[in-house]
Subunit: 214 residues, 4 copies
């Protein structure tokens, strides 16, 4: 690992590097915690996953976790955030791309489907956010609404530009989002379809009915 190597010779190069180094090491450890945590959360549920288990898998002790996170909730919130970023990234990318509403919608579908193929993405729909404190929940839900708004926006856009047939926007968005979110519940790492295949298929299937291809 380059991390451990650089840790051996910090003073030689620059007195600032150690800080950099340390911060980076810290971030790496934070990430490791999150990866292990989200994995266990998905495997056993949030409430049934004790911080002890998380710590054990990382070969540290429970209180050590508190160096990186204020509490258990913060861990979950960050897992949500990382998942959220995945879909938001797709949303942003499609917003910035040229193309009609249908094209953008399909892009978002693909992006959201791929999100659901990852642990952090899955936790968005498989870990109930009712375990969060009201404030944290509000924030998380705001994030989720963003994506939903994205679906609706692209659908409306498509209807406006003629690429999508008129339909009940809200319900259609819910239907699409639901079909995609469900992926997180049935997808298997070693399934016979790759995440990309699933994403592509969904992008078509979920828009067939509304696409104005006639």
């Amino acid at each position: 690992m380059t991390r451990s190597k650089s840790r051996k010779v910090p003073d030689i190069t620059s007195p600032w590097e150690p800080f950099e180094d340390r911060r980076r090491a810290r971030d790496i450890k934070r990430e490791a915690v999150l990866r292990v945590a989200v994995h266990l959360f998905l495997e056993q549920g949030y409430d049934r996953t004790s911080l002890n288990e998380v710590a054990e898998r990382l070969n540290i002790t429970k209180p050590a976790l508190y160096n990186y996170f204020a509490n258990k909730e913060e861990i979950l919130v960050e897992c949500y955030s990382l998942g959220q970023e995945l879909s938001e990234g797709a949303l942003t990318r499609m917003r910035e791309q040229d193309g009609d509403g249908l094209f953008r919608l399909r892009g978002l579908i693909r992006g959201h489907a791929l999100t659901m193929a990852q642990d952090f993405g899955q936790c968005l729909v498989r870990i109930d956010d009712r375990v969060l404190s009201p404030e944290a929940r509000r924030e998380v839900r705001a994030g989720k609404r963003l994506i939903d708004a994205g679906f609706r926006a692209f659908i409306s856009e498509g209807i406006a530009d003629g690429s999508i047939r008129p339909c009940d926007v809200k319900l259609t968005a819910f239907a699409i989002a639901g079909a995609l979110n469900w992926i997180g519940h049935w997808i298997q790492p070693d399934g016979d379809r790759s995440p990309e295949q699933i994403a592509d298929e969904m992008a078509l299937r979920l828009t067939e009915g509304i696409a104005n291809t006639a």
Copy 2:
């Protein structure tokens, strides 16, 4: 209540009535427990709902619950069962009705959508069955697979009889089921669409793309 009335004159009508009466009273109470429990489970999550809360809402004490259920898990399992029955009922009904695959699929969609509008139905998709013991989980999942198999069967049937365009059956079934299950997450009792409206809309929307209407 008729119960208390009949209790006053048991010997006159029938020596069996008291028993019947008691059994019925028992069932009524069991049901009340389940209704309160599923409500709280949906509101706060299973792990965060203590039996104390359930009991309190019923104006009884916690140990009294153990007269009706062996343990907390059994309560959840029965909630799942009641939810499961809702969709299975729709499945059975459509199986017995005449009509092509598309027709049946739409019926099942409607039925499953309506299931998702009820507490017992929602708990199927909103309470993580990973809290169950392996045996109980196996049983619950078997039930869920039944519904999924129903979707696939009707789609296959439709493809065979020409009412549905050839498509990836498994993925399509997942997409439809996902869109419907998601209803349980967003529907609101006082929303501007009635469950029936949602069900009808979904029955159309989710089949538009695959219906062979040309």
Copy 3:
């Protein structure tokens, strides 16, 4: 059984018989409770045996037990009593028989050994009387002391009449009682020695050292 016969024709013979009958039936049931209870107490320990289990084995319900016993403790106390009576019977019998101290001691040993071969006898030494309320415990211990006093009396008697060699009476009594009480811990219903064989062997073995056979 004559019990069931007489129960069928109670009014014919005498208006008083039913009472007798009822009392007897009651006693029979009490005994049944005690037999089942002591068995379970020995099998699982007093605290770990719930009245439910006792009731179940008798095909009745828990509250029904309260018709025969005031509480769980009373059941145990009566089990002790029945065991106590076994040894006390032997003590009384030997007291009334002619013979020197050694003869009587051996008789008591035999009697106490046989007591330890029965459930009620075993409970004397295998169920800790510390589970009893102070009053009940006092009574039970008084009974146990009676037996112990019997051992000492016979030993002293034997020393006085020359059939037993001078020895530390108290310690010798404890040693003999201990050896006998231990039988309750190792004896097995289907062992290769009958209770009588064990009793006889003990009567000899435990007195060999102190018998004045020279």
Copy 4:
């Protein structure tokens, strides 16, 4: 406390001391728990002794106990172990000593008698091992059988070398063990015989009958 003193100057003496120190402190605390626990177990019985009581006497809180023991059963098992070691020590010592069977038997008797004068030894015979899980019970019973086997071995040895008169080995061993185990039930800390006196007396009394002194 010396602990706090050494804690002030750890680096001077050795970098390992703190660790040693901690481990030792931990062991000391574990031992304290066991001593309090066995005392209460003997006083009130295992089931009637709550971990709360144990903790209270130690001026800690109940969950703190779980730092040292996995559960209540483990505490009991360790109490048994400590008691077991006492007698096993005597057994081993006598095995290694020169002398005939009678000599060794007497040594084991003395050792076992002294075991019964201590809390940990008493719990072997006064706490019913039926409260243990099957696995734990098996282990504990294996230990008990070891001692019993020791008694039998020394008796057989004595018969073989002529120091003990031929007798029913199994029954004799049971009788001796029983007499000794009973000590745990009647001995009193402030009795008029010291444990050593009792032990010596028992070593003689229990072998008088079988010793080949003629």
